[in-house]
């Protein structure tokens, strides 16, 4: 038990050291950081204009009001931001495998998946979390709930959002681990992008049972933003909460197993 605690402490400290080192790199390009912040704000504005235009003609999307959809979009922005801020290196996994750069990480006395996940941090994406959070707060404040209900639901929402981040991270790892066999660096990125884009809308739009099942369990879109938002808007639902924990655990375990399996097939391309 003491060993585990010591190990966890070591990984925790390493994670923050990596954050600090990465922050220094970000600070070297101040202009880019500023422009990135503006870019994220622009991206959010584009999404809002899209929603405003659509909701200028309609009252709801599959029963979801404007403010609820706003929370869904904000939630995806937060998750996306967290994944980029903490684990930008994951997106470069294909390039690392292709060029044999993974060797350097494998010989370090730490877990390779941990290093791949936290080695590089894109702090430029931090504004994404702030802006996403602002959208969620603005949407939640307009749901017509009492302050007590909002606070209670918000705690649950944050727990489910944490699960959602685990799901998105695991899905990322599951997809990118296939690089061990395919050695390519661009098409799988499309899959991740498609996954993020689709999760920006409530999964209730899928009225076909087969498609709904596909987008709920095989591609766990429902548990990314739809479920946390539903809990924030409508309150505790044990089936959704349980489902969120289960999906996070299953996808994390699958990603870990698949990663270890992939790592055994790593051939190294370096000299």
């Amino acid at each position: 038990m003491r060993d585990l605690a010591h190990k966890l402490k070591r990984y925790w400290r390493l994670m923050w050291t990596l954050q600090k080192i990465n922050f220094m790199t970000t600070a070297a390009y101040k202009q880019n950081f500023l422009i990135m912040t503006i870019s994220v704000a622009i991206h959010m504005a584009m999404n809002l204009i899209f929603l405003k235009v659509i909701f200028g003609y309609i009252n709801n999307i599959a029963g979801w009001s404007y403010f609820e959809v706003l929370i869904v979009i904000g939630s995806v922005m937060i998750i996306d931001g967290v994944v980029w801020v903490f684990g930008a290196r994951i997106s470069a996994l294909g390039r690392n495998i292709q060029r044999g750069l993974l060797d350097g990480m494998m010989i370090k006395p730490m877990d390779t998946q941990f290093l791949i996940s936290f080695w590089q941090c894109d702090h430029e994406d931090f504004p994404r979390i702030v802006i996403g959070g602002s959208l969620v707060c603005y949407g939640a404040a307009n749901l017509g709930l009492t302050t007590h209900a909002i606070l209670l639901n918000l705690i649950l929402y944050l727990i489910l959002l944490f699960n959602a981040t685990i799901i998105v991270y695991s899905f990322n790892m599951l997809i990118r681990t296939t690089y061990f066999w395919t050695i390519v660096d661009f098409s799988l990125h499309n899959v991740i992008e498609a996954f993020t884009d689709i999760s920006k809308y409530p999964t209730d739009i899928f009225n076909n049972l087969f498609i709904k099942t596909l987008f709920t369990f095989l591609l766990p879109l429902a548990f990314v933003a739809t479920v946390p938002t539903r809990v924030l808007a409508k309150g505790f639902d044990w089936r959704l909460v349980l489902g969120s924990f289960l999906m996070a655990a299953i996808f994390f375990a699958l990603a870990r197993k698949f990663w270890l399996f992939g790592l055994r097939h790593y051939k190294s391309a370096s000299s």
Partner: protein, 263 residues
């Protein structure tokens, strides 16, 4: 001209190596289209309508939009140029007997033809499968004009990306700027919502810019929402000439500031 043809051909062949990517994109793009199909079907199912667009027109718009995203919009020219300037790889290009701009464009053309060859098949299948839900024109003249307009849009897109890439002479890293410009231009091109659904003042402002010729105009022609006129070709062609001279001017200014470190 032959050297640029070889650059384009090499890029085309380099893309052929990654056949697996094509299959993956086939699946992911089909899923994205499925998502749009259900999103719009769900919105229209309760008798609601978005502007003057019928459900068929809206589905067609997003189907063709996705095709353009994968073909004429699918280039990393800003990133490639920006990185080559930042890490000094531009030195190698300056020493070779070709124009750097011509080289960057040839690479993108090679990629465009690869994407057209591959994704046209996917979209022919999708159009055939969803033929009862779309109103895409299959008239030979309209299809030809659509590709011509899309090709002009591709050049506008390349030139804007090239200009963003050149900003690396002054900024170093251009990730932020590239992302901002990509979002703004995609919006003004009609990549988020059809432009005729936006407020009037935004469309008036947009008329003074080249962006609508990249996505909105070609789609409107193919989905029979606009009639062909020569103006649709002449205006973007003028923009291409204007942007080309601007790019040349900026490159000449930037190269004076270039230090060539990192190579």
């Amino acid at each position: 001209m032959k050297k640029y043809y070889i650059v384009a051909k090499n890029n085309f062949q380099a893309n052929l190596v990654y056949r697996f990517s094509t299959y993956v994109i086939f699946v992911s793009e089909s899923l994205v289209f499925l998502f749009f199909f259900y999103l719009w079907s769900s919105i229209y199912s309760s008798g609601q309508q978005i502007g003057s667009y019928s459900l068929r027109e809206m589905i067609s718009y997003y189907l063709v939009l996705q095709f353009l995203f994968l073909t004429t919009k699918n280039n990393g020219v800003s990133w490639e140029v920006g990185e080559e300037i930042r890490n000094g790889e531009l030195n190698n290009n300056l020493l070779k007997p070709y124009s750097y701009f011509g080289h960057a464009v040839s690479r993108s053309i090679g990629r465009l033809f690869f994407c057209l060859a591959v994704y046209s098949l996917l979209y022919v299948l999708l159009i055939a499968f969803f033929r009862n839900y779309t109103n895409i024109s299959l008239d030979a003249f309209t299809v030809f004009m659509f590709f011509l307009l899309a090709f002009l849009g591709f050049f506008i897109n390349i030139l804007v990306g090239y200009l963003v890439g050149l900003s690396a002479f002054w900024l170093g890293i251009i990730g932020g700027l590239s992302y901002a410009v990509m979002n703004i231009t995609t919006f003004l091109e009609g990549g988020f919502v059809p432009l005729d659904l936006l407020p009037r003042y935004l469309n008036i402002f947009n008329n003074f810019l080249p962006f609508k010729y990249v996505i909105f105009v070609p789609i409107s022609l193919l989905t029979k929402r606009t009639e062909f006129s020569w103006e649709l070709i002449v205006v973007p062609a003028c923009w291409i000439v204007l942007l080309y001279f601007l790019a040349k001017f900026i490159f000449n200014r930037g190269i004076k500031k270039y230090e060539g470190f990192g190579a």
